[in-house]
Amino acid sequence: MDATQIAIAERVAEEQRHHKKAQFFWVWGALLVITAIEVYLTYQNMQPAKMLAILMGLSLIKAALIIGFFMHLRYEISRMKWITMCSVVACLILMTIFFFPDAHRIITLGVK
């Protein structure tokens, strides 16, 4: 790395020195608890569509915890947060637009 990059890396490291260790343990505990809830819900005989919605909602919460705290995106500047997250979400929305109208047609009309 050149001097500029080293200086930036040192500043980032300096900011991270103040992160509390306990916070990471709380996040880890929350992730384990959410996983246990997911497994519990699996055996509750719910409608598949309802269960899928709940499980994906819980997975999004877990993803937000991992990205925000473990990957430190929460501590990045807002430009970094918005550009990374918006671009990924936009691409996933595009995939949804391409995949799911046909999937909906199959559900509605049945498999031929």
């Binding site: 790395m1 001097a3 500029t4 990059q5 080293i6 200086a7 930036i8 890396a9 040192e10 500043r11 980032v12 490291a13 300096e14 991270q16 020195r17 260790k21 990471f24 343990f25 996040v27 880890w28 992730l31 384990l32 996983t35 997911e38 497994v39 819900l41 699996t42 055996y43 005989n45 598949p48 269960m51 899928l52 499980l55 994906m56 819980l58 997975s59 993803a63 991992i66 990205i67 705290f69 473990f70 990957m71 430190h72 990045e76 500047i77 430009r79 970094m80 550009i83 990374t84 671009s87 990924v88 691409c91 996933l92 995939m95 949804t96 995949f99 046909d102 999937a103 199959i106 498999v111």
Partner: protein, 264 residues
């Protein structure tokens, strides 16, 4: 770049970064964004296959769900140890950093071993792909043999998705090994390759899959020979980003593939 310079509390002067961080980290984020689309496409393909296929199987009995839950716990714990390794690296505590990285690798290895065992059991019971050799002396269960014949989309998408993830975890372990031990990791990696190759039977997909470790050992030997360096806190943080991403992807695979296909 801009002509302006920004000075902070540290005794350095540097140009402002557009994203407020160093280029290596931005590069890793860009890679992870592209990789998230790879996994996104695989997860969508799995979901689409499930919706469009009548009689989608629910082959995962409680033992498989327990196994997958333990695997998830190992991955989540590995993320905790990884973030503690990053913390140790910014505090310039080299010993703790190495220990936490090794703990992360151990959790990742436990995940791969449990996943490999799960794959081997499924293949032995008949939930297999045409490219996988038959397991000699093992009768396929009628339930799984029927699934492989009537709904081939299930084993195809299952093995592709989870195999891709397993490959990422394996490469992540190697990545962390290089960051933690540098050149000392190469003989360890070669030993792991030999163990994986010799300990798996010739009909197992892991018998040939183990050669990935040999290829990776050659590649990192060349890299470390061409560009030897001491890895600093920024390298540990970038490696951590990759590791957390692998964990993140599993948070979607676990409910979508395992929990939604649990035999109740």
């Amino acid at each position: 770049m801009a002509d302006t310079v920004v000075s902070h509390d540290i005794p350095s002067v540097y140009e402002p970064s557009l994203f407020g961080t160093y280029s290596k980290k931005i590069g890793m984020w860009l890679f992870l964004m592209s990789d998230s689309l790879t996994f996104g496409a695989l997860l969508y393909a799995y979901s689409y296959g499930r919706i469009s296929t009548a009689g989608w199987p629910t082959p995962f009995h409680s033992t498989s769900i327990v196994n997958a839950t333990i695997m998830t716990a190992f991955l989540l714990t590995s993320s905790l140890t990884m973030v503690l390794a990053v913390r140790a690296s910014v505090q310039k505590d080299a010993k703790s950093q190495t220990l936490w990285l090794l703990a992360t690798m151990a959790c990742g290895a436990a995940f791969v071993v449990l996943h490999g065992r799960e794959w081997s059991n499924l293949i032995a019971e008949g939930l297999t792909l045409p490219m996988f050799p038959a397991v000699p002396g093992h009768e396929a269960s009628p339930e799984f043999a029927n699934v492989a014949k009537t709904v081939p989309q299930f084993p195809s998408t299952f093995f592709t998705l989870t195999g891709m993830h397993m490959l990422h975890v394996t490469l992540g372990i190697v990545y962390l090994g290089v960051v933690a031990l540098r050149r000392k990791f190469i003989p360890i990696l070669l030993a792991l390759w030999l163990i994986a190759w010799l300990a798996t039977p010739s009909y197992s997909p892991f018998h040939y899959g183990a050669h990935v470790l040999l290829v990776v050992a050659v590649v990192i030997s060349i890299i470390l020979w061409l560009k030897p360096k001491v890895y600093d806190s920024s390298d540990v943080e970038v490696a951590g980003l990759y590791w957390h991403f692998v964990d993140l992807v599993w948070m979607f695979i676990f409910p979508l593939v395992y929990l939604m296909s649990a035999r109740i």
